[in-house]
């Protein structure tokens, strides 16, 4: 699991469905993780949430 400062949901064009989780890695670096149960990076984020952490909603 990479280190990151915060996590936030991104939505589709209609603003209805969550498509990605945007990780702020610091120093203007970002990682967008596709929300897909088969995505191992997404699975790691779900474990991070299970540990009591929170993904912020979009601005």
């Amino acid at each position: 699991m990479i280190n990151f400062n915060s996590a936030k949901y991104l939505y589709d064009m209609e603003g209805v469905n969550k498509t990605h989780i945007q990780l702020n890695l610091g120093n203007s670096k970002f990682k967008h993780i596709v929300i897909d149960p088969a995505n191992t990076d997404y699975q790691a984020i779900l474990e991070w949430v299970e540990d009591g952490n929170t993904i912020e909603d979009a601005d």
Partner: protein, 341 residues
């Protein structure tokens, strides 16, 4: 390869239909491609892809051992100019039960149907690779992720290059799914705690038992003087190892792009000819768009941004499409797309 072995292989390929075409299912077996960079330090704290494409380091539990990993230039092995190198910087001689360090490459099920695994006419697996380094015994495991089955063998490393050839039996139980998901691992175990070594080695395909996975495996971390070089990794159908199948750099790079694509001048920090502009540069409501060859599935995107943050991501498989309606003059650079198994 001896004449007898050549004849044996010819007889085998004549009967299993592999007369022509690609023999090696491993991508980047000659370690030519390293899109993320050639060097990584302090490897051992987490699993990940650090240097050469398609080869992942797996770490389990907490070890004090650390390695520098690199795509090393080599001149002492004919036919190869690159190898994956592991140089121990911090030793770990107190191995907890759950510790492990593996070097792995993985396969989509749809790409390995030729092994006919799970069928009555299943084929064997022949794995070959070149190694040198500190004299040690390590383990190699084939792990079927679809059916949670495995088979393992040990091999010896010496201070000179040797080609290791390992024949694994056919498995008539448990077919590989024919899709784009992970079906098979090749795992080279170079450090293992008792949880993985205290059983009886699974020398025939069997349901996974952790204690049987790395029996007899030594530890790369036993001294900070240890090192290990690997190249020429090949996995092929049948029971005879053919010469390593050399492919061009361009061909290997294209194959790697299905899993990882470093765009433009990724990793340089260059903000000029490494940038993807907001199409409406001087105004807000700007899209960044860039097409790329389709990958295994829609990838995760890593990037650095000039200012602010992308507010929405409309990307799909083959197109980066980010939107921001509050910042002008923005662009991204050092873009890395990942859809590894």
């Amino acid at each position: 390869m001896s004449k007898a072995a050549e004849l044996a292989k010819w007889g085998e390929v004549s009967t299993n239909g592999q007369v022509s075409g690609r023999r090696n299912v491993v991508i980047n077996g000659a370690m030519q491609v390293a899109q993320r960079g050639a060097d990584a330090v302090a490897v051992g704290t987490a699993s990940g892809y650090f240097t050469v494409d398609r080869f992942k380091v797996f770490q389990g539990a907490t070890t004090d051992g650390r390695i520098s990993m690199s795509q090393a230039a080599i001149t002492d092995l004919g036919g190869f100019s690159k190898a994956m190198k592991f140089d121990v910087t911090d030793a770990d001689t107190s191995i907890a039960a759950g510790e492990l360090l593996q070097i792995g490459t993985m396969f989509e099920g749809q790409d390995i149907q030729g092994f006919k695994k799970g069928h009555s006419d299943a084929e064997g697996f022949t794995l070959s690779f070149y190694v040198k380094g500190t004299a040690k015994t390590y383990s190699v495991e084939l792990f079927d992720a679809d059916n949670t089955r495995h088979v393992t063998q040990t091999f010896n490393v010496t201070t000179s290059w040797n080609r290791i050839v390992l024949n694994f039996p056919a498995d008539t139980t448990g077919a590989f799914d024919s899709d784009n998901a992970l079906s098979l691992y090749i795992l080279i175990w170079v450090h293992a705690g008792a949880d993985y070594t205290e059983g009886t080695a699974a020398t025939s395909w069997a349901g996974n038992v952790n204690a049987n996975r790395a029996v007899g495996c030594g530890s790369l971390f036993s001294s900070d003087a240890n090192e290990l070089f690997i190249t020429g990794v090949q996995l092929e159908v049948g029971s005879v190892a053919t010469p390593f199948e050399h492919r061009s750099y361009g061909e290997e790079l294209a194959l790697c792009h299905r899993y990882c694509n470093a765009l433009l001048k990724y990793g340089t920090g260059n903000q000029n000819d490494n940038r993807i502009y907001n199409a409406d540069y001087a105004n807000v409501h700007g899209f960044i768009r860039m097409g790329y060859p389709r990958m295994r599935d829609t990838p995760d995107i890593n990037y650095t941004i000039s200012a602010g943050a992308a507010e929405t991501d409309y990307s799909s498989n083959g197109l980066i499409q980010l939107f921001n309606d509050s910042v002008t003059n923005w662009f991204i650079y050092d873009v890395l797309l990942e859809k590894e198994l």
